[in-house]
């Protein structure tokens, strides 16, 4: 009989090394998969692991994909640390994208001729409001009716998706767009300024990095951040200290929603330049993996985002260059999360093999509760 036994002192070194370890396991699994698919493993791994870092254009594309992941995962890390299980960052992302998209459309229609640097803060505010409003539905239902936030936030993703579809198939459809479900292209001023001309990477990436820094300070140096985490780690201690669980719920959900909304705003007013049904690349869900790979730490979230964007880009490259199915990057994400959780379990527990003793009737004795 195999049994998990708690380790007296889990190794601190391995607690930090476990994301690296799980990455190595993922690479090993990938190698086996490549061989099984009849592809050259060295070439395939190069496409997955090296190509996304090869050259300025690749690196800026990596940063572009990492931007929404960083923003979404920061908010999720805060929620998870506060014991609020928001898994609907995707919906909040879409809500932010819709509000910011609406703003960009309005700027375009009114022909305001805005400067991109004036539009940037407006887009951030619009996205944050949209995302926070979407998350506030979750907070309200949880607060007033004790509705499970996991279910509500998840289901609201689909509502947001349908709402976006309705907009681009209906009122916001480009009349000259040959009936394609998409809005008009935004005016030149209604876009996020780019960092390097010719590259798609925009200043939203810098905003995301600043947000990570801010989140790190908030979690480690601000009393409100401390109070939120106490609520997540030990609810009774939070009650004892007098930290309100309601305010923790609202603070973490609104912050997380706002960050996801900003991510959506950046995406729609950044590389896309118009609203389509495909605003998101599942960033809101991928960010859940990022948050855990990053140990729910803001700086870990940045590293995790780079890692996961590498998988996203590597998956696209593998499809075009090696002819591998694009679903492969989803498989690798799953393997990564799975091995991370497995590593964490084995860091906190050890496996022990117990020889099964012949125990006639032992079950009955236990059922009677006498063994306590």
């Amino acid at each position: 009989m195999l049994r998990l036994e708690a380790r007296p002192a889990p190794s601190r070194l391995f607690a930090w090394a476990s994301p690296v370890l799980s990455l190595l396991i993922t690479i090993a699994v990938a190698t086996v998969l490549f061989i099984a698919l009849g592809k050259d493993p060295v070439r395939s791994l190069t496409v997955f692991l090296i190509e996304p870092f090869n050259g300025l254009r690749s690196i800026t594309e990596l940063g572009l994909k990492a931007t929404p992941l960083i923003l979404c995962s920061l908010g999720l890390a805060l929620c998870f640390r506060s014991n609020v299980w928001n898994i609907g960052a995707e919906g909040q992302y879409l809500a932010g994208a819709m509000v910011a998209g609406g703003l960009a459309l309005w700027v375009t229609e009114a022909n305001l001729g805005l400067n991109r640097w004036v539009f940037l803060p407006l887009a951030i505010i619009a996205g944050a409001l949209g995302g926070a409003a979407w998350a506030s539905i979750v907070a309200l239902l949880r607060d007033r009716f004790n509705a499970n936030e996991i279910l509500v936030s998840l289901m609201l993703v689909y509502v947001a998706n349908l709402l976006l579809n309705w907009l681009v198939f209906g009122p916001w459809k480009d009349p000259k767009g040959f009936n394609f479900p998409q809005s008009v292209s935004f005016a030149d001023g209604a876009a996020i300024p780019r960092i390097i001309t010719g590259m798609r990477l925009h200043w939203g990436f810098v905003v995301a990095l600043l947000a990570a820094l801010g989140m790190w300070l908030f979690m480690s140096r601000f009393y409100l951040g401390f109070a939120l985490q106490v609520g997540g780690l030990a609810p009774a201690a939070a009650r004892y200290a007098g930290f309100s669980s309601r305010s923790a719920l609202w603070t973490s959900l609104l912050t997380s929603g706002a960050l996801a909304g900003v991510a959506g705003a950046f995406e729609v007013a950044g590389p896309m330049g118009q609203l389509t049904p495909y605003v998101s690349n599942n960033y809101g869900f991928t960010a859940i993996i990022v948050a855990f790979v990053g140990r729910l730490h803001p700086l870990g979230c940045v590293l995790g985002s780079v890692l996961l964007s590498m998988f996203l880009i590597g998956g696209e490259l593998a499809q075009s260059r090696v002819g591998l199915p694009s679903a492969l990057s989803g498989v690798f994400q799953g393997v990564l999360l799975f091995s991370l959780l497995a590593c964490d379990t084995l860091i906190n527990y050890r496996l022990r093999w117990l020889p099964a003793a012949p125990r006639p009737g032992a079950k009955a004795a236990q059922a009677a509760g006498a063994t306590a």
């Binding site: 708690a6 401390f226 007098g242 063994t371 306590a372």
Partner: protein, 522 residues
Amino acid sequence: MLRLELAGISKQYPAVRANDRVSLCVKPGQIHAVLGENGAGKSTLMKIIYGAVRPDEGSIYWNGREVQIANPQVARGLGIAMVFQHFSLFDTLTAAENVWLGLDKSMTLAEVTARIRVVSGEYGLPLDPLRPVHTLSVGERQRVEIVRALLTKPQLLILDEPTSVLTPQAVEKLFVTLRQLAAEGCAILYISHKLDEIRALCHHCTVLRGGKVTGEVDPALETNTSLSKLMIGSEPPELAHRPAQPGAVALAVRGLSLAKLNPFGMTLADLALDVRAGEIVGVAGVSGNGQQELMAALSGEDTRAAPGSITLFGQDIAAASPRKRRHGGLHFVPEERLGRGAVPTMSLAMNTLLTRTGAVSRSGWINTTAVRRLAEDLIKRYNVKAGGPGALAKSLSGGNLQKFIVGREIDAKPKLLIVSQPTWGVDVGAAAQIRGALLKLRDEGCALLVVSEELDELFEISDRLLVIAQGRLSPSVPVAQATVAMIGEWMSGLWPGNRPQPGASAGSAAVGQNTEVHHAAA
């Protein structure tokens, strides 16, 4: 011939050696005490005898023959029965059904019911076998467990801290039963850390400290001092208790009533109490009689109290949050240290922030240097054995964490300190230190309210005593006029002027037991 002999038993757990070459001999008819502090290895040793835990080394002899006790089934087959500290009964079943479940299936339920009546009569353990367990008091539940053990006609009965849930009167009754059982030849292993009980009841005493046997004595020939010296390795320090100088009323509770929050809670009914500056008021009672609910209402964790029912220096605080109450000078030490008084996975330094915000600026910025300094200071002044301010709260022993938490609240210079179970699960040395700190705080003019299940402790430090039973509070009595017997009666709700409880069931009276307190959560 010895009934049971243990030779060189050792058991290693990941972090601690719970038993280190322990040897023990029990004769038939002997009441054999196993004395030791929390964590001395008593419970592990008993679980080894009962087959619930397997030893790493050593041998066990039963009636002169070496045996391997692989599981509790084998132990019961040999004639070993055990009554655990935490009962294992199904609330929705009757007493008889619970007993029947634990027996081999050779008897019908009707036969078991009849046997329970006979055995409970023979041993003075009145018990109605047909009553559902959830209507039984804690004492009656314990009787179900004991009767269940006796029905197996044990040659060795193990009792783990059996008196922690009983009033002093119920303890006396239990002792009569145990003496009768011993006289019939049954050996009894009696696990306890209460010295008086062991001296009154037991024929022989094995003392454990840190997993090792540190003494084999006849308890009747020992004093409390000599026993505790064997148990903790040194003499407990004497407390200097000067007469109190009560001042103004700090805390006044009037007509405090609260409906219970869950089925296992207790409804508080019309409580009243006063605590004055410079005095310690003790609240005695069997656990589960409303202590937790009262503490939550006073600390601000539960703010449902009616306006005006709780006042702090004349200010109505019934609806105030814990933080607001702390601003008014009310500090609270809860009974659960890990998870309530401290966050287990946070450092001691961060844990000071739960109740101490001196290092937090108005904008909410935490001055981490000041936080660390405060933790360092508390560690030094209250003799906390810890790796430093960065040590995680869960890495400390119960006693050391309690010293840290009590120190954290005392250091805040409270005007009213409320402490729940100040020395629960704390070793004797640390307990004496905590009591000394509470007395010193009183002498400095602080008002203290102490809730404890340990009567000795309350008699030692309190100036006035109150008793809580069934969600009601007795009037207060100066400690000089109180006796253990009187407080014990009051713990059953029998104080002058207390009207009979609607919740007290007739069944209890029918079996002639009115010395215990009904209690929902065992």
